[in-house]
């Protein structure tokens, strides 16, 4: 029973959601199922928050390595929760947590946004190190990749036009900026679309396996 009921729920909900795309009378039911998901997700959020607090409390209590970071995490968690729920601001209590004088907004603008930007900025260095490995001409495919990347890099800078601007108009496709545009719009886009078609078909096949109850791995095992 513990395994049958989830399979029935998946089959019924999956079928209704598919039908709601084609049959307008079922649309409302499909929207309701999506709403059910949101409601369940809200309750699960309490579980997530509770789990976070418990794990870090245990770490502090047992003085595990780097337990000081757990203290910072918990202080940050409870301070944010307090100022958010209490709608605290410089003047006392604010009408909205997004108001400029709200403490939550201050935390968001002065702490969360700069920290997120810092993490995002790391990408520049990671792109450089990943490119260094990916663009080494180890074999034929890697050499083609290297040449394509080189053309696109040059094409996106003024140097590309300076180097090949002398090429006559009737051969303008050979100008580096135009070649870069062609690489992005023809081979690159074709490859991306091929992947997307495969993804679409993969989703259909996987959904069918789940709706028909053939794939029950999300329950831990295929066996009944």
């Amino acid at each position: 029973m513990k395994r049958t009921i989830p399979v029935i729920i998946v089959s019924v909900v999956g079928t209704v959601l598919v039908l709601s795309v084609f049959f307008p009378p079922v649309q409302t039911m499909g929207e309701d199922f999506s709403l059910f998901f949101d409601i369940i997700a809200v309750f699960a959020f309490f579980l997530g928050g509770g789990n976070l607090v418990r794990i870090h409390l245990v770490k502090i209590y047992r003085k595990r390595p780097d337990w000081g970071f757990s203290v910072v995490t918990l202080v940050g968690f409870f301070v944010t929760l307090l100022v958010g729920l209490g709608k605290l601001s410089v003047t006392g209590v604010t009408a909205s947590v997004t108001a400029p004088d709200s403490f939550l907004q201050t935390i968001f603008v002065n702490i969360i946004t700069p920290l997120s930007s810092t993490m995002y900025a790391l990408l520049a260095f990671y792109v450089a190190s990943a490119s260094y490995r990916a663009f080494r001409a180890k074999n034929r495919e890697a050499t083609i990749l290297l040449i394509a990347a080189f053309i696109i890099l040059l094409g996106r800078t003024p140097l590309g036009m300076k180097l090949t601007g002398w090429i006559p108009e009737w051969l303008s496709i050979l100008q580096i900026p135009n070649l870069a545009v062609w690489i992005m719009n023809a081979p690159n886009l074709a490859g991306q679309r091929a992947i997307l078609i495969g993804v679409g078909l993969g989703v259909v096949a996987m959904s069918l396996r789940l709706i028909l109850g053939m794939d029950r791995t999300y329950l831990g095992s295929d066996n009944d």
């Binding site: 795309v21 084609f22 307008p24 009378p25 649309q27 409302t28 999506s34 998901f37 369940i40 997700a41 699960a44 959020f45 579980l47 997530g48 928050g49 789990n51 976070l52 794990i55 390595p65 780097d66 970071f69 969360i112 920290l115 997120s116 993490m119 995002y120 790391l122 990408l123 990671y126 792109v127 990943a130 490119s131 490995r133 990916a134 490859g191 992947i195 997307l196 078609i197 495969g198 993804v199 679409g200 078909l201 993969g202 989703v203 259909v204 096949a205 996987m206 959904s207 069918l208 396996r209 789940l210 053939m214 794939d215 791995t217 999300y218 329950l219 831990g220 095992s221 295929d222 066996n223």
Partner: protein, 406 residues
């Protein structure tokens, strides 16, 4: 002199008459009770029941006010149910377009509605005439999606057909997927090194199909982990993924006969915040140095940050996502990458069950249809542009409409 005065007066009277007549011929600016100049109302209000819906939507369109875009603040949309009073349902900002449209999706099926549009400016509010009464009706089938339904039936039919073929015992060829073949070896390596396996299921919730695919792979991976008596660690960014993943791993351990080895904290929630999650996972990677990192699911900018950190700690890395924009990063930084459809095929592939493998074979029919349509469509467009044959024009339109939605 008298004659001169009379002529002068006559001239003024004629001039006044001419001025008034000209002013009447021009657009009249309405003046309200306190002397403010009101904007001119919009015209040509067209109200119609929305096509192929469940009866809860009415479409409204109108031509702009002659005073748009200068000097008006926007348009108010008023609605009256049956013979009832009008009430404001929406406000539309001016954009200088020739005409505007609004979709009212807050109507009751079977009820009749009238609409009127007002234009607002600093001078006041001018109303259009009331529209005709329109009823929100539902249609049984969305004809605009007929092509998608036909394609869906072809693809689903072929998938089911191949499942039955496989069930009948016929051997089907499925190409080798290196990333999945390496999965057991990756878990084995972590076991030998005595280090954990890190499983990242992307940063989206359970309503994303990629996360669902990741959970189905997690079931297989955690089963191998339980068999090998290894350790899996799974920080997640969504609470619902946490509860689902816990249930999945618990059942895998149970199926492997190792329920005692399972504990809840294998899967733990970190944060919903994208880069906060990345920072936490990077910290775990650098501190715990997992021997194997699996990134399977929906990833965005964090893909490269995670994969490069994994590369830095020397972990064997297997990634998979359906987002084409992130695939190059995974290919550059990971040992194996499941590209697009391979992510969704993983569970069936790893099961080795002929019925599930049959479903993978069915996808090939869909690919064949797509390829055939692309080749025929490309040839037809080429022929039309060169020789203007009508038949090929019709053929290219047909190929296009097969895969487009309205």
């Amino acid at each position: 002199m008298i004659f001169g005065k009379s002529l002068y007066c006559s001239f003024i009277i004629i001039a006044c008459f001419f001025t008034v007549a000209t002013a009447q011929n021009e657009a009249v600016a309405t003046v309200d009770s306190v002397g403010q100049i009101l904007p001119q109302p919009p015209g040509n209000i067209i109200v119609a029941d929305h096509k192929y819906d469940n009866g809860g939507i009415i479409d409204i369109a109108w031509d702009r006010s002659p005073d748009d875009p200068l000097g008006i603040d926007g348009y108010n949309i008023y609605r009256a149910c049956g013979d009832g009073d009008f009430e404001i349902v929406a406000f539309v900002l001016p954009g200088g377009m020739e005409s505007y449209s609004f979709i009212d999706d807050k109507v009751e099926r079977g009820e009749s509605y009238r609409y009127k549009i007002s234009v607002i400016s600093s001078g006041g509010e001018s109303f259009s005439e009331s529209s005709v009464s329109v009823r929100g009706d539902w249609e049984f089938f969305d004809l605009d999606k007929l092509n998608i339904l036909i394609l869906g039936i072809i693809v689903c039919g072929s998938v089911i057909g191949f499942i039955f073929t496989a069930r009948a015992g016929r051997k089907l060829f499925i190409r080798k997927i290196s990333g999945l073949e390496a999965l057991e070896e990756a878990v084995g390596r972590a076991t030998e090194m005595g280090r954990p396996i890190l499983f990242i299921p992307g940063i989206l919730d359970m309503d994303d199909v990629q996360t669902l695919a990741a959970i189905t792979i997690l079931a297989r991976v955690s089963r191998i982990v339980a068999d090998y008596d290894s350790k899996i660690e799974m920080p997640v960014s969504r609470s619902l993924v946490m509860t689902t993943a816990r249930e999945t791993i618990k059942n895998s351990y149970l199926a492997a006969g190792r329920p005692d080895a399972y504990y809840d904290d294998m899967v733990h929630y970190v944060t919903d915040e994208q880069f906060g999650y990345v920072a936490a996972v990077n910290g775990i990677m650098v501190r715990d140095k997992p021997a194997t990192c699996l990134y399977l699911g929906a990833f965005f900018a964090e893909s490269l940050i995670l994969a490069e950190t994994g590369n830095y700690i020397g972990a064997i890395q297997i990634a998979g996502t359906a987002r084409p924009g992130q695939l190059p990063f995974f290919v550059a930084a990971c040992d194996y990458t499941l590209i697009g459809e391979e992510l969704f095929a993983a569970s069936a592939y790893l099961s080795g069950d002929p019925k599930q493998l049959g479903s993978l074979k069915g996808q090939d029919v869909g690919k064949f249809v797509a390829m055939a349509a692309m080749i025929i469509g490309t040839l037809a467009v080429t022929v039309v542009s060169a020789w203007q044959f009508k038949f090929f024009g019709w053929l290219s339109d047909l190929m296009y409409s097969m895969f487009s939605t309205n």
